[in-house]
Amino acid sequence: MAGVATLREPKAEPRAAQAGTAGRLGPKVRRNLSAHGFLIGAVLCFTFFSWYPIVREVIMSFQKAVVGGGYAWAGWTNYVRIFRDPTFWLAWRNTLEFTVLALVVGYAVPFFVALLLNELRHARGYLRVLVYLPVMLPPASALLLFAYFYNPQYGLFDDILRLVHLPTSQWVFQPGSGFISVAMVSVVIASTWMNMGGATLIYLAALQNIPGELYEAAELDGAGLWRRIRHVTIPQTRLILLMLLMLQIVATMQMFVESFVLTNGGGGVGDNTLSVVMLIYQYAFALSGASNYNSASALGVMLMLVLAVFSFGFLWATRERASQA
């Protein structure tokens, strides 16, 4: 810190002159007081709502509630208890299933949509607005609409299937939990429809920054369409692809509202669309009897560690990008 302080010395001079008349406090102290005064609001909010909760989640995961109020140390009991809960493994399995499916659909589709949009010479503005429009809807609106489409009695999707004489489906309420379950695919479809706009536009911005000469040169060298995508487009957008991959893994592993609204807060038939965050919610707020903040915290700590790895990967990719620029 000392080095930083001396670097700023010249800047402080005008203030020093001004502070001379201001009283006993040295100019440096005065400057720091006012600087910290500007910081204090944000620092208090970070302390109460971000830094402290992070620490507290770890502490709470090793505690248990005591009759009559207060908490006592519990060692690994909370972790052992949730490890023994079959729902715990199911929730992780479902979350993994959602993440993989959402990536297969929600990661690749926006890239190809962006590729397509970038080639079109007409109607681009219109198509961009269309793709992004669902992102702006309140999630409850979009998901209640999909719940209506998915309804097995009168939903639009089954009506369409009936129209073309295909077997109908229960959609999100389809029982069964094979690795690719109909219920989870239904959640992924709704989720992708709602969320793909953001990734598409980010890819599009990246595609527009690829120097045209590269394509020109590749074409002169006789590279066909597919080889131009492979050897120009993908390498040129490699870092954006990597960053969005990390971001999307982090986002999809926190899946909550999609399954929560589509299944009326339940988690599907036999919990086959119950996600880890939904289980945290159930542990902490929805189970009958004593609230179980501590088990929920233990599960939260595990998810936090997993997500931190991917977030770190994202920041690392960003750093690599920043140093290139």
């Binding site: 810190m1 930083v4 800047k11 005008p14 400057r31 720091n32 600087a35 500007f38 910081l39 609001g41 944000a42 909010c45 970070f46 709502f49 909760p53 992070i54 507290r56 989640e57 709470m60 397509l116 970038n118 080639e119 079109l120 109607a123 219109y126 198509l127 669902p134 702006m136 809807l137 309140p138 999630p139 409850a140 609106s141 209640l144 609409l145 009168y154 009506d159 429809w193 953001g198 536009l201 911005a205 595609l207 527009q208 690829i210 045209g212 394509y215 020109e216 954006i240 909550f256 009326n264 965050v277 919610y281 929920a296 915290s297 939260g300 936090m304 997500l307 931190a308 920041l315 960003t318």
Partner: protein, 293 residues
Amino acid sequence: MTTRTLISSATLNRGRGKVVYRVVLTLAIVGFTLVFIGPMYFLFTDGLKSTHEAIATPPTLYPHHVYPGSYAQAFDRLDIARLLWNSVYYAFGALAFQLTFDVAAAYSLSKLRPVFGNVIFFLMLATLMIPTTVLVVPQYVTVASLPIVHLNLIGTPEAIWLPSVANAFNIFLLKRFFDSIPADYLDAAQIDGASPLRILRSIVLPISRPIIGVVSIFGLVAVWKDFLWPLLVEYGYTPTRETLNVGIWQATYGTPQNLIIAASAMAAVPTIVFFLFFQRNIMGGLTAGGLRG
């Protein structure tokens, strides 16, 4: 658009290329309209059907008997006016807190540079690695009884406003923009005797309008779209304190289908209008976070 992309304009203007391009363009327009506008068409028209028609099989493509009563009924039954007001109040209140505290903090970190400023900035950025969703339980417990002051914020708007300030991405974007403002401007003002607050108000803020616009739009949208946190902290009060987003979900139990759809449509209107107004800023702002390729 004149820049060269994957396929050259020359290829697209010649013989077979022209035909293929026309076909692809038409398919794209029709396909995208069906996929993205199609569901929204039903969102807005099915609210105009009677309950009987809304759940009829096969479904009607358009309301055969227009029944605007569903909108009026849903509006009263779900108290949309109140939910809408709640959401507006939370969103703009959160924005006011974010702009006040985050702008001040970013200004301090960028231009006033206090002792330990770098440490504080690093600790703020570190929270980017831990999404708030995994912290709901300790955050809830903390908001229910703030340490030291022992205030219970559950059920108050502050439960939404204050946590929204702890947004490292805002601080990052603002600080990076402030860093790019030449020091000469500020030094000149300082020599003329302007206080740091005066410099912030008269020099930094006017220059920073674009980035403040980006931060504001995304701040508003984030509060408006949030579900889990408002569900936890504003749930179950009379009169209701829920956001529009949580409120329409909560009311679905035992509400006829056409009213749910009408309510969902009404909940969607403000954000759609907002988007059409600010689409350039919103879509441009997406790449503001250093994601530019």
